[in-house]
């Protein structure tokens, strides 16, 4: 890649993360509609199942990547000063990475 930021890779990540997120949200909605958990304990138990927690972890990962590409696009579109652009991109990356790490800690903890 000749550039620090990619074109095709970012676009692919955006599309694939969108598809996964959509499928996961449909699955989540159907679950809560058809088998709503009766109590907090039941809900926690359901979330602890390896398949559900892994799928949730992937969902939040996909969501973070999707937000990164989207916010990166906004910055690339509207912010033209190189210094300010780098600062904003770094802030977005750090913020999203922190949120993703925190989410992973909650899900795995």
């Amino acid at each position: 890649m000749r550039h620090a930021l990619s074109g095709l890779n970012a676009w692919l990540v955006q599309r694939l993360s969108a598809v996964y997120s959509l499928l996961f949200i449909v699955y989540l909605s159907l679950h809560f509609l058809l088998e709503p958990p009766g109590s907090y304990e039941q809900w926690q138990q359901w979330m602890r199942q390896p398949l559900v927690s892994t799928a949730s972890l992937i969902f939040f990962g996909a969501l973070s990547l999707h937000m990164w590409v989207g916010l990166r696009d906004v910055v690339l579109d509207y912010v033209h000063s190189p210094g300010l652009r780098v600062c904003l991109l770094a802030s977005v990356a750090i913020g999203l990475a922190a949120m993703a790490a925190w989410t992973a800690r909650i899900l795995l903890g």
């Binding site: 890649m1 000749r2 550039h3 930021l5 990619s6 074109g7 095709l8 970012a10 676009w11 692919l12 696009d73 690339l76 579109d77 509207y78």
Partner: protein, 231 residues
């Protein structure tokens, strides 16, 4: 018929302004360009480009009631009055409805709009099958009027870096040409965050193209070709 036309003469005016005109179109004056040509006989300071007057040269592209189009193929009858005429949005104005197209053509030239083929020349010509030729339909008809690029928000924000819908339609036209041998280089040249991927699929380009072409479809096809090439 009432018209409100953008006026700006850099030698005389400090700021652009809208000038109102009123005239009764003759029965023969069916297109907007016919009306403009007559207006010029009344006010010869009014400046606009025109040439073929039948939608082939692309000279008289302008913003008509908020939407880009060619004055020569825009019927007067369907227009809401006063008809507001402005130069192509986001392009630098030279005078009145005449804009500077340098940046537009710079982007067009950047995609190398010619066949690249270093193989030895055949005796007569590089033959194409009817199917291969059909690949160019919907692409070769572009007249480079700039209606699409001037109406594209991604081109407004990054005109120096984003090739724009017209240039990308032309890029695809050469990528799919069976006689061209630089497809891989052409795809590689577009794979950065700006040249192709600033496109947000807003589709204003396809919406306004006076020739009914679809730059957004061409852009989508380039993306899919890139995906295939990267696998």
């Amino acid at each position: 018929m009432r018209l409100s036309i953008f006026r700006f003469d850099p030698d005389r005016d400090r700021k652009p302004y809208m000038q109102d005109y009123e005239l009764v179109p003759e029965p023969s004056e069916r297109m907007l360009l016919d009306v403009l040509v007559r207006l010029k006989t009344v006010d010869d300071s009014l400046t606009f480009r025109r040439s073929c007057r039948e939608g082939v040269c692309g000279s008289d592209a302008m913003n008509i009631n908020g939407r880009n189009g060619l004055a020569c193929i825009t019927p007067v009858s369907g227009l809401k009055e006063p008809v507001e005429l402005r130069p192509l949005p986001s392009f630098p104005v030279i005078r009145d409805l005449v804009v500077d197209m340098s940046q537009f053509f710079k982007q067009y030239h950047s995609i190398r709009p010619y066949l690249i083929n270093d193989e030895p020349e055949p005796d007569k010509e590089r033959v194409q099958s009817p199917e291969e030729r059909a690949q160019l339909d919907g692409l070769y008809e572009c007249i480079l009027c700039a209606c699409c690029t001037s109406q594209c928000p991604s081109s407004w924000w990054n005109p120096e870096k984003f090739v724009g819908p017209a240039g990308l339609l032309q890029a695809y036209r050469f990528i799919v040409d069976s006689r061209d041998r630089a497809g891989a280089q052409r795809l590689d040249d577009l794979n950065d965050p700006f040249r192709l991927f600033r496109c947000r699929t807003i589709m204003n380009c396809t919406e306004v193209c006076p020739r009914g072409l679809s730059p957004s479809r061409a852009i989508e096809k380039i993306r899919l070709m890139m995906v295939k090439a990267s696998l």
